[in-house]
Symmetry: C2
Subunit: 355 residues, 2 copies
C-alpha cells in the first residue's frame, strides 16, 4: 500500500512527537511492505510566526491532497495575547471545518500500570473503556450570528445544526458501537434546547437501522456526573460539539493516562486528521522529554481508520501496552511500581524495536 501523509508538527512538543510517529510509520512500512510518503507543513503558532496566519493556504492544500494528516499540537504562551484571528487554535478550528472533519473520536481506556494515578478510586475506574464521538464542525463553534450587538452591550452566539449534520454523526456513533460493546449513550440537553430535541428525535429514528445497538439518552448534566461516579457504564457516547469538548476532556482525566490519549477527526470518506489529546507542553518543548505515546497511538488510529490496516495498528497498540508493562515511562507519567524513565527518542526506539 502507498499512502501520502501530511505531518503538521505545530507548536511546542509537536515537532518531537511527530518525529516519533514518522519513525514508527517507517518501520511499519518496512515490515509490511507499504510506502508512506510525507510532507511537513506549518500550523498554529509556528504558522503565525512564519506566514502570518494559523492555517496557511499552502498547508490546507497539502492536507487536501493527502491520504491522512498527523498533527502534533498547537498553542503556547507566546501567542496567548494575540488578537483572536491570530491565535494558534484558530488554525485547528479552521482545518477541521475546511477539511470537513465532522467526527471526532476520542477513546479513553486505562492502562494497568497507570490506573493508580487516576484521581478516581481504583474500584470506580477499573475496567473503563469508552469512546466519545463528538460532532466537530457544527454547533456553537461555527454558528452565525456570533457577534456583539447594541454597541457592544449585548452578544450572541448561535448553536446551529442541520438534520444531515446530526444524522451523519449519529450514524458514525452507531457504527462505532457496532464494532464495540454495542451500547450507545446519546448526550443532549433536550429538556432545554431545541437543537437537542432534534438530536434526540434523530437518534430515535436511527435506532431501527442498528437493531443490535442498545441506546439510551442522558442529559449532559447527568452525563457529567455519571462519567465520574460510574465510568464503566459507558461504551460509546455521542454528543454535539461543545458538550463533546467538555465531556471528552472530563473523561480524559479519569484513567490517569492523559498523556496517552489519541484522537481521530474523520471526514465522511476514510480521510482523517489524527492528533494526541494532550497539548503542546511549551514548558518541556525541545528537551527530548515529551511522551510520544499518544501521538504514536494516534498514528495507529490513522492506520486503522484511514488506511484500514488493522494488523499494523494492533501491532503498534500492543507495543505501547508492552513498553508500559515493561515499566518504561516518560516524565509526565506516574507509573506503578519500579520503572525506567526514558526520553522521547528512547521511548520511540522501544516501540520501533517491538514493531
Amino acid at each position: 500500500m502507498k499512502k501520502h501523509v501530511v505531518l503538521l508538527p505545530g507548536d511546542g512538543i509537536g515537532a518531537e512527537v511527530i518525529q516519533s510517529s514518522q519513525k514508527v510509520l517507517d518501520v511499519i512500512a518496512k515490515e509490511f511492505n507499504h510506502t508512506f510518503t510525507y510532507a511537513t507543513h506549518d500550523i498554529g503558532g509556528t504558522a503565525i510566526d512564519n506566514h502570518g496566519t494559523p492555517l496557511p493556504e499552502n498547508t490546507l492544500e497539502a492536507c487536501k491532497n493527502a491520504d491522512a494528516v498527523l498533527l502534533g499540537a498547537v498553542g503556547g504562551p507566546k501567542w496567548d495575547n494575540n488578537p483572536s484571528h491570530l491565535r494558534p487554535e484558530k488554525g485547528l478550528l479552521a482545518i477541521r471545518k475546511e477539511l470537513g472533519l465532522f467526527a471526532n473520536l476520542r477513546p479513553v481506556k486505562g492502562f494497568e500500570k497507570l490506573l493508580h494515578a487516576s484521581p478516581l478510586k481504583e474500584e470506580v475506574v477499573n475496567g473503563s473503556d469508552l469512546l466519545i464521538v463528538r460532532e466537530l464542525t457544527g454547533g456553537l463553534y461555527f454558528g452565525t450570528p456570533s457577534e456583539r450587538r447594541d454597541n457592544g452591550n449585548a452578544v450572541v452566539d448561535t448553536l446551529a445544526y442541520t438534520r444531515s449534520e446530526i444524522e451523519r454523526i449519529v450514524d458514525k456513533a452507531f457504527q462505532c458501537a457496532q464494532l464495540r460493546r454495542k451500547h450507545l449513550t446519546s448526550v443532549d440537553k433536550a429538556n432545554v434546547l431545541e437543537s437537542s430535541k432534534l438530536w434526540r428525535e434523530i437518534v430515535e429514528e436511527k435506532k431501527s437501522e442498528y437493531p443490535d445497538v442498545a441506546v439510551e439518552h442522558v442529559l449532559v448534566d447527568a452525563a457529567a456526573m455519571k462519567l465520574i461516579t460510574n465510568p464503566t457504564h459507558f461504551d460509546v457516547v455521542v454528543t454535539e460539539n461543545l458538550f463533546g469538548d467538555i465531556l471528552s476532556d472530563e473523561a480524559s482525566v479519569l484513567t490517569g493516562s492523559l498523556g496517552m490519549l489519541p484522537s481521530a477527526s474523520l471526514r465522511e470518506d476514510s480521510f482523517g486528521l489524527y492528533e494526541p489529546v494532550h497539548g503542546s507542553a511549551p514548558d518541556i518543548a525541545g528537551q527530548g522529554l515529551a511522551n510520544p505515546l499518544a501521538m504514536i497511538l494516534s498514528t495507529a488510529l490513522m492506520l486503522k481508520h484511514s488506511f484500514h490496516l488493522e494488523d499494523e495498528a494492533n501491532l503498534i497498540e500492543s507495543a505501547v501496552e508492552q513498553v508500559l508493562s515493561d515499566g518504561y515511562y516518560t516524565a509526565d507519567l506516574n507509573i506503578a511500581g519500579a520503572g525506567k524513565k526514558v526520553g522521547t527518542e528512547e521511548m520511540t526506539q522501544l516501540i520501533v524495536d517491538l514493531v
Copy 2:
C-alpha cells in the same frame, strides 16, 4: 423578625422534605423570637395535574408577594412523555425567569463521615470546599431564536447575554469570593465563543473593584478536568448558565454527599428561591425515607441570604454536621463506620432537637 415564606413542595419526595424545613423553621422562630408565615402552592408535575400548567399564575403571584421561596423538587416518570410545555421542569425554568433569579449559588463541601463515599481518592477530594455561582436566567436557556428551520431540516438555539446580565453575576461572584477564601475562577470558552470573550472582558474590568480577590480564567473543558484532578484548587467558580449546569452537577458528585447539597437562586435584592440539588426521587416518595438534610441546608441558606439571620443559619448547619458525626444517616447516604439509619421524620426531629 416577621417573614412570609412560600413553600413549593413540587413532586416526589418534595412534599416530605418541605415539611422538614417547616419544622426546623418553626423551632428557629420559637428560639429566636421570629415569626414565619407560610403558604403552600403547586409547581411542576403536581401543578400540571391540578391546574394544567407547571407554573400556575397563582403560584407565581404568591411567590412575588413572599420574602423567600422554598422548593422541594420537580419531575417524575409520570410526566416524562408530556409535550415540552407540559413538563415539570418548565415550571422551574419559568419561575427562575419570572422572578429574576439570576444567581444560582451551589456550595459543594464534603462531610467527613461521607467523604469515603466519594468516587475520588480521599487525598484528592479531602478539603474541597467550593461554591459554584451559575448565571441562571440567560444564555442558551432563554435566548431566541430557538426553533426549527428549513421545514424541520435545521435547528438553532441562541446563546444571548447583555453586558448588564454578565456584570451582575460577576459582581455577585466577586462578593461571594470576598466572604470566602478570596479566589475567583471565571470559566468560559473564550477561544471559541464571542459571548465568552465579552464575559472575560467584564471579569477583567471588574477586577479593580475587588482588589482583595485573586482572579483566574479557565476554559470550560479545562475546568471540567481540574474539578476532578484538583477540586481543592477552587474557591468560587463563576460561569454562564449551561456551563454552570454541567459543572455544578459534575462538582456535586465529588464529595460523596449529593443527597446533602443545597442551592440558592437569588434576585438582585435579598429575595431568593432555595432548593436541594437532588431530584424528586419518585422511587422512594411517600415512604418516609427521603433525606431532608439538603432541604434543611437550603433553608439555612434562605435564613442567611434572604433574611440575614447568620446565627440561625449557622445553628442549623452545625446541627446537620452534628447528626452526621453522631452517625445518623438516611437510606441514600453511605456513611463511614457504625451508624443509625433513620427516616425523614426522625432525621428532622434530630435537627429540631439540636436547634
